[in-house]
């Protein structure tokens, strides 16, 4: 096993679970990042405010890491055109599929919805196949 960090990853997961719970119980919203961002695209969409507030919180949290431990940010050495295409696929696909790793993988699975289970298995599956083909 390579670079195994179970405790650190588990702790991060617990914080993500707390964040999702805070938003669900305090505001009645799903902490799915692609949905939060995607909702900003529709003109006159209800609930712009809470989305921008959430993203502001995300930004402040990111700046805390940048100040304290910038090594948490690392890319995988992919070519820029590959990253541009990958970004397009992630942005379009997550919206079409109704969620990403957070919306389906954490929030949806936590409420035991079949749709999120299917989505999570599918995106884990295609991602693993791509890594198998392109190599790490």
């Amino acid at each position: 096993m390579h670079n195994f960090t179970p405790l650190r990853s588990l702790s991060g997961g617990v914080l993500i679970g707390l964040a999702a719970s805070l938003l669900a119980l305090g505001a009645g919203r799903v902490a799915g990042i692609s949905g939060i961002v995607g909702g900003l695209y529709t003109p006159g969409h209800e609930g712009r405010g809470w989305r921008l507030q959430f993203l502001a919180g995300l930004l402040v949290g990111a700046l805390v890491w940048l100040a304290l431990q910038p090594a948490v940010f690392a890319s995988a050495g992919r070519a820029l055109p590959v990253l541009a295409v990958a970004g397009l696929l992630v942005g379009f696909g997550a919206r079409l599929g109704g969620g990403c790793t957070s919306g389906h993988g954490v929030c949806g699975l936590s409420r035991l919805t079949g749709r999120s289970l299917v989505a999570t298995l599918v995106f884990m599956g295609t991602a693993a196949i791509v890594v198998l083909v392109t190599g790490s």
Binding site: L10, G17, V37, Q69, G87, L88, L96, G97, V131
Partner: protein, 139 residues
């Protein structure tokens, strides 16, 4: 106090992402690389998040709406959009090692790779919004 809920949730979410290892795209690809040197760490992220979120949702049952104002969860198991969209998302995730949350958080590093990915991602979400609204308005 209640008006700070979305901000605090976002803050906690970003702290959690950085701690978890999800903002390290090499680690994400190591996690998706089941057949070679598998790094199972990121399975613990999902496990930890669900271990907290699932019981809290059950303990305090509140009505939750999704981004289209519909109650969640939706009653069906799957539909074409969910399967095709998730498959496309997975391909992009495997190519780059970034999914939406970690990409947005990593933008503060101002490193070119994550900036290029995030611009592509925002454009992809925009493409979807345009395509979807044309479908909804109908011919």
């Amino acid at each position: 106090m209640r008006r700070w809920v979305p901000f605090l949730s976002g803050l906690l979410f970003a702290i959690g992402l950085g701690l978890s290892g999800m903002t390290d795209a090499r680690k994400v690809i190591g996690f998706l690389d089941f057949t070679r040197q598998w790094d199972a760490s990121l399975a613990f992220v999902m496990a930890g998040a669900i271990a907290v979120h699932l019981p809290l949702l059950r303990r305090f049952s509140v009505p939750i709406t999704d981004d289209d104002g519909c109650a969640v969860p939706t009653p069906h198991w799957f539909d074409r959009r969910t399967v095709i969209g998730s498959a496309i998302f997975g391909v992009g995730w495997g190519l780059a090692g970034y999914c939406p949350g970690p990409a947005l958080v990593s933008v503060v590093s101002l490193e070119l790779p994550v900036l290029v990915f995030t611009v592509g991602m925002l454009a992809g979400a925009g493409l979807f919004a345009a395509w979807d609204s044309r479908l909804r308005s109908g011919p």
